[in-house]
Structure formats: structure tokens, C-alpha cells
């Protein structure tokens, strides 16, 4: 076990620590500093999950972990994306984080840091400590960091023993999280919704919708504060999942209920589209620049500047929508319906048992995918390829929804080639959609003629996208063949097309 060098004590414990040095030792405060502090992590808390704490005190950023390798650097108070940090050892240590997720403050407050020298009877410093009291709105904790000195290990061990004797003291840095953020569990974008095989399909559908709506709502604040692009992305994924449940779980709810819910969730989705589309372009900016000759870059700059302006406008509109009374009322109404004691009014299939229902749906969808894909060749119209993409997506959703009912190992085996096929189809679709969207920038707006440089750059992009689309299209047959192997076919058959007693 690594030597404990960080101890966390509940509440304000500095005075208690200072008053109780081990026998023969003296604690002397050599410096005091008061500053604001914030505990940072991405929204989904990858640092917390990997046993790390990113603590900013004033302009000092410490990445702390119980393994050796705690590092520090200077920063501004607002952090942003990991790559946007000033060059330094903390930035270097955060390269494992997603480049899309910002380092946001999960809690903030005031800190007091005491530098303490531990002296022996010769007045020799045998150990240095930092006692950091962190007071946030959500919780209070005292962090003691010890810096052992060569040749004074015993003193270190004695001090650690004393510190661990205090009530509410724990070894290691991770004790900080529950004290500063009690009852806050790390965010999960796709929490598993437990399902039992005999559960009525209408309950499964309600649980899935309720869970996805709850995840969507957790992203609202991040979208409003515009912390990073992934809040909106996750929000939209949740709404899309809900709409898929409503369309794929056919007849589990009364037809008018399904229709109302579909309308309600489509209405929630609608105001989010433009910002996300523009986010995708802006995130992919370097890729677009790579796709056209350098001589056309000034035109692309114009295009992206315009997109950025449009994005800012769309974002403001979206924030207004999310903050509006209308949105709150609609969400509240949906939550009331979903949480009603007697559930949503069931349809003709509402009482079907989950496992049987899942098998029927997945098997049917799998068949549709195969039927359509096997017909695809160079002459097939693009519309059919788009239809295949949508069927694959639906199949994937069904498999994800009902995943907990099946053996994870077998599931992974069939999901892998399905994902490859979906990626392929996704890129094909992106190229097609982007050509259409970018084409709009070649049209006059409010009577203003199109900038020549911009038009040239967009023209070059369209040509590249068309080539890329053709290349993706050419790969589809191969991707499907990998998915359509006899092994995958037999797994599908085993899982979803067996009499109830034969399923594994």
C-alpha cells in the first residue's frame, strides 16, 4: 500500500490538529494563506473515477493523487478544456481526459492554508505539513498534506498515526469528494436501467423514458452555462432515446398517449438542433481546414466566423428557451405523467413480458437490416442507404435498451461489427448532410451577394465531401459482410429467435 501522505478530516480541523502534536514534537505555523478555491473535474468526473483530485487554490492548480505524481502549476481562475490550460505539468498529466469536456468547478468556496513545520527537541524541522481548510457551500473538509523529509521517517509515521486518530479522518485524497460534495454521485450518460424478464413491457418503457429524462435534465445547467459542447450532445442523445422508446416499443402505451408523448419530446428536441449542428462544424474546424488547399483557408475563416456568430445567436435562443416558464411547465407536466402512481395508460402490448417482447422486436429489426443491406450494391439509391442507417440505429437502440436481459459477452460480440457498420453509415450520412447544409452558404442572404473567397472554399469542401461520401459508400458492402457473418447470425438466432426455454 502506498505510504499515506494525504489525510482528509471532516469539518474544520486545523486547530484540533495543531493542538495535538505527538510527544516530543512541536507544530509551528510558518505561513498562512487565505484564498478562494474550487474542486474541478469534468462533468462526468473522470478524475474522481481515476482516484485524482484537481484543486485550484487562488492561482495555483494542484493535481493530487495517492500514487506518486501529484503536480502543480499556475492557472487562471476559470479553467475550460484541458488543452486550454497554460503549458505546465498539470496539463501534461491530464492528456488522458476527453478533449471535449471542460474542467468545471464542482464546488467552490474559501480556503485557508497553513504551512506547518514539525520540530523535534533540537528545534530541527523533521517534517513539513500543509493544513488546508476548505469551506464550500456544499461541505467542509480539512486536507493535511505531509512532506516527509529524508531521515525522519519515524516522525512522519507518528504524525500520520496521530492524524488518523482524529474522528472523521481518512487516509488518501479521495476522502475529499464525499466531504465537499456529499451525496453527489458521478454523472453517467447512460445509466443501466434494470429490467426483469417477466416485467411488463409498458413498465420497461416507462423506466427507460424516466431514466433518460432524468439524465437529460442533469445536463440543462451545463447547456445554459455553455460549459462545453457535450452537455447539449448528451441532452439530445437522451431525448432521442426517449423518442426511440416511444416509436420502437409499439403499442405498449395507449395510441393517444404515445402520440402526445412523441409530440412533447419532439418539441423539446426541436430548439436544440441548430446549436448542435454548428457545434459539430466548429469542433471539426481543423479537419475542414485539412480538407481544402491552403490558398482557400481565408475563405474557410470567413465561413467559420459566420458559423461562430450563428452559433452564439442560436445558443442565446436556446438558453432563453431552457430558462423559460414554458419549458419548466412542459418538463414538470411530463415528469408528473411519468411518475404517476398508476403509470401511463397501457396499450395492446403493454402487458407483454419484457424478454419475449425484446426478442420479437430485435429479431424483426435484425431481419429488416439484413434484408435491406443484402440488396445494396453500387446502383442502390442513396435513400436506401439512409434507410439502412436508420434501421441499424433502431436495432442498436433496442439492443441497448434490453441489454440487461442478455449475456453481456455474447452481446459484445454482435455489437462490435454493428458499431463498425454504423460508423460507416454515419460518416456516409454526415457527408451527405454537410453537403446540403454547406450548400446553403452559397445562397444569397438578405440580398447580400456571397463572398467570393467563402464561395470558393465551400465549393472545394463540397467536392471533398462528395468524394468522401463515395468512399464511405464503397465500404458499406464490406462492413455489412462482417456483420452478416455466419457466427454473428447464429448468435442473433441463439439470443433472440429461440423458444423461451432454449435462450441463453
Amino acid at each position: 500500500m502506498p505510504e499515506p501522505r494525504m489525510i482528509v478530516i471532516a469539518g474544520k480541523a486545523a486547530q484540533m490538529v495543531l493542538a495535538a502534536p505527538p510527544e516530543g514534537l512541536r507544530f509551528v505555523i510558518t505561513a498562512t494563506d487565505r484564498s478562494d478555491f474550487a474542486l474541478h473535474d469534468c462533468f462526468d468526473q473522470p478524475l474522481r473515477r481515476s482516484g485524482r483530485v484537481l484543486l485550484r487554490i487562488g492561482y495555483c492548480l494542484d493535481l493530487l493523487s495517492d500514487d506518486p505524481g501529484s503536480v502543480r502549476q499556475k492557472v487562471n481562475r476559470k479553467l475550460g478544456l484541458p488543452a486550454e490550460l497554460p503549458a505546465g505539468p498539470v496539463r501534461d498529466a491530464l492528456t488522458d481526459l476527453s478533449s471535449l469536456r471542460a474542467l468545471m468547478a464542482h464546488c467552490a468556496g474559501q480556503s485557508e492554508t497553513l504551512l506547518v513545520a514539525v520540530l523535534d527537541d533540537m528545534e530541527k524541522t523533521c517534517l513539513r505539513m500543509q493544513i488546508v481548510t476548505l469551506v464550500a457551500g456544499t461541505g467542509t473538509a480539512t486536507l493535511v498534506l505531509t512532506q516527509p523529509m529524508r531521515g525522519y521517517r519515524k516522525v512522519h509515521d507518528r504524525v500520520i498515526e496521530t492524524l488518523l486518530g482524529f474522528e472523521g479522518a481518512t487516509k488518501g485524497i479521495m476522502g475529499l469528494w464525499p466531504l465537499l460534495l456529499p451525496e453527489v454521485e458521478p454523472y453517467q450518460s447512460k445509466p443501466e436501467v434494470p429490467i426483469t424478464p417477466e416485467e411488463p413491457a409498458s413498465l420497461v418503457a416507462t423506466d427507460l423514458i424516466r431514466s433518460a429524462l432524468s439524465v437529460a435534465r442533469q445536463n440543462e445547467a451545463g447547456i445554459i452555462d455553455d460549459i462545453d459542447t457535450e452537455f447539449l450532445h448528451d441532452y439530445r442523445v437522451c431525448l432521442r432515446r426517449i423518442r426511440s422508446v416511444l416509436s420502437l416499443f409499439r403499442d405498449v402505451f395507449a395510441p393517444e398517449t404515445t402520440a402526445e408523448l412523441k409530440d412533447a419530446f419532439s418539441a423539446l428536441m426541436e430548439p436544440t438542433g441548430r446549436v448542435r449542428d454548428l457545434d459539430v462544424y466548429l469542433l471539426g474546424k481543423p479537419v475542414f481546414f485539412d480538407r481544402v488547399p491552403v490558398s482557400l483557408h481565408p475563405g474557410l475563416e470567413l465561413l467559420f466566423a459566420r458559423m461562430q456568430t450563428e452559433r452564439d445567436l442560436a445558443q442565446r435562443k436556446l438558453v432563453k428557451h431552457l430558462r423559460g416558464a414554458n419549458y419548466a411547465a412542459r418538463i414538470a407536466a411530463l415528469e408528473t405523467r411519468l411518475n404517476a402512481a398508476d403509470g401511463l395508460p397501457p396499450g395492446s402490448q403493454g402487458d407483454q413480458q419484457a424478454l419475449d417482447y425484446a426478442c420479437v422486436l430485435i429479431w424483426a429489426r435484425y431481419h429488416k437490416v439484413c434484408k435491406l443491406a443484402r440488396r445494396i450494391d453500387d446502383a442502390t439509391p442513396d435513400e436506401d442507404v439512409h434507410r439502412l442507417r436508420i434501421h441499424c440505429k433502431k436495432l442498436r437502440y433496442l439492443m441497448e435498451f434490453f441489454g440487461p436481459l442478455f449475456l453481456a459477452k455474447k452481446f459484445r460480440k454482435i455489437l462490435k461489427p454493428l458499431k463498425v457498420l454504423q460508423d460507416n453509415l454515419g460518416l456516409f450520412n454526415d457527408c451527405s448532410v454537410q453537403q446540403e447544409e454547406l450548400g446553403e452558404y452559397l445562397e444569397q442572404r438578405n440580398g447580400t451577394p456571397v463572398d467570393v473567397e467563402l464561395a470558393a472554399a465551400v465549393g472545394a469542401l463540397l467536392a471533398t465531401l462528395s468524394r468522401l461520401q463515395a468512399a464511405e459508400r464503397a465500404r458499406i458492402v464490406t462492413s455489412f459482410q462482417a456483420f452478416d457473418s455466419s457466427r454473428i447470425r447464429s448468435i442473433f438466432e441463439d439470443l433472440f429467435h429461440q423458444p423461451a426455454e432454449g435462450r441463453q
Binding site: A117, D120, M122, E123, K124, T125, M149, R150, G151, Y152
Partner: protein, 245 residues
């Protein structure tokens, strides 16, 4: 890694004060320093408030790599560690040869303790012995404090003669005047004469006779820590600069 020996064959010349202040100045420049207190009286150990360890009186001490690494103590100053006084140096020459070898177990044991030393400063006992001879051979520089008195002049001549007899490289010797009282004619004349006799051996820097240096025993810290603007602190800083360590 450099090995710097502070040596004088006469006691009470400010040798330990030199070791302590020099080691402190090198550490302040950002390098890792190990100060070995080879003087059985343990004065530099005392100056850094370090307790002499019982383990250190064992005869085969320097043969035992782990024990050696365990005996090292961090001082209160960043980058400066102390090997406390030891009564037995029978194997010190072996230590000196090993510490220079990057792949030796000793060097690795030291590094494992968290410090790879850039400079080792040896505070040597005031006599001619097998130890001092080994130190002369192993050290890159031999820093010799010389008070400008008749007796010190004589002992310095003995040291130079010893180097000559033993065919030791005399250019390693970097002598400087210590405990200088410029108002004393005798001091000024002695300094002038000795500089003329040994033009290549003496540095420009000179440490004045100073109450601040004497107070090091009371304050138990390098002079730059408690009297940073004193004449003594400036003189030690000048000595450090001139040595070009």
C-alpha cells in the same frame, strides 16, 4: 557530480563555517547537495540541528550501503542533506570511489532516497591521515581556509609540501583567507606575502572576522539565513561565486 573538500590541517580556522555556508549557497542555487560531516566533533551536524545517529559509530559503516543511505538527514533547507558525524572512516575511500560511479549500489541507494546529488561537500577533520590523503585524491576541489597568522602560514606551507611529496595535484587547492581583520597590519602583511608566494593557490574572496560567523553556533543556521545582509554573508557569497561551483 562534484566532490568539494573543506580542509585545514589546523583547527579553529573557520573550516566548518565554510562547509556549512558553502553547502547552503550551492543548495540555494538549486542543486542537490550532500554535506558529509567527517569531523568527529560533528560541528556541521550541530549547526544543522541534526542529532548524531548511534548507528554511525559502527566500524564498517561505509561498506553498508543501506545503512549509509538511512543515516542521511534532510536539513531544514531545500536541496541540502547532511550525513551526520561519524567516528570511523576506515572505508571512506571506498565510499568516495563508489559515489562517483553512477551505477554503483551506493549511488542507486542515494537516488532511491529521493536525491541524486550534484555536489558532495566534505567537512574534513583537521589532521593529516590516511583519510585526508584519500580525500585529497578523490576531491575535485580542496577548499582551504587560512587565517592570516604566522602559525597558519606555517601549516599551509606544510599542506603544500605534503601535496608535493605525495605528488598530489596542487591545482586542486583553492585557499582563501578567513577570520581577516583588515585593521591589523600583521594580517595585511601576511596576506600580501602569502599571495606573492602562492599566486595560483589563493582566491580573491576573503572572510572577515565576524561576530555573525560566531553566532552561527548560537543560531545553529548558515549565516545567510539569519544575517543575510551581513559582511560575512556577502563574503561567503563571493567565495561561492569565485569557486565557480
Amino acid at each position: 557530480m562534484q566532490v568539494i573538500a573543506c580542509y585545514s590541517n589546523k583547527g579553529g580556522v573557520g573550516k566548518t563555517a565554510t562547509s556549512v555556508n558553502l553547502a547552503h549557497a550551492i543548495a540555494r542555487s538549486g542543486r542537490q547537495v550532500l554535506l558529509c560531516d567527517l569531523d568527529p566533533q560533528g560541528a556541521s551536524t550541530y549547526y544543522f540541528r541534526v542529532k548524531p545517529s548511534k548507528k554511525l559509530s559502527e566500524t564498517k559503516f561505509f561498506e553498508d550501503v543501506d545503512r549509509f543511505a538511512d543515516a542521511i538527514r534532510a536539513s531544514d533547507f531545500e536541496g541540502l542533506d547532511i550525513l551526520p558525524a561519524n567516528r570511523s572512516f576506515r572505508d571512506f575511500d571506498r565510499f568516495l570511489s563508489r559515489i562517483r560511479n553512477k551505477r554503483s549500489r551506493l549511488t542507486r541507494a542515494l537516488a532511491a532516497g529521493g536525491a541524486e546529488y550534484d555536489v558532495v561537500v566534505l567537512d574534513c577533520p583537521p589532521n593529516f591521515s590516511l583519510l585526508s590523503e584519500n580525500v585529497f585524491r578523490a576531491a575535485d576541489r580542496i577548499v582551504v581556509p587560512v587565517p592570516p597568522s604566522t602559525l597558519s602560514e606555517r601549516t599551509f606551507e606544510q599542506l603544500v609540501a605534503f601535496f608535493k611529496d605525495q605528488r598530489l595535484p596542487r591545482q586542486k587547492i583553492s585557499a582563501f583567507f578567513s577570520m581577516v581583520e583588515r585593521r591589523k597590519t600583521l594580517h595585511r602583511e601576511t596576506m600580501e606575502r602569502m599571495r606573492a608566494t602562492h599566486p595560483k593557490r589563493f582566491l580573491e574572496a576573503a572572510i572577515p572576522y565576524s561576530a555573525d560567523v560566531e553566532r552561527m553556533g548560537l543560531r545553529r543556521a548558515p549565516v545567510a539565513e539569519f544575517a543575510p545582509r551581513s559582511a560575512a554573508a556577502s563574503a561567503y557569497a563571493a567565495l561561492y561565486r569565485e569557486l565557480g561551483l
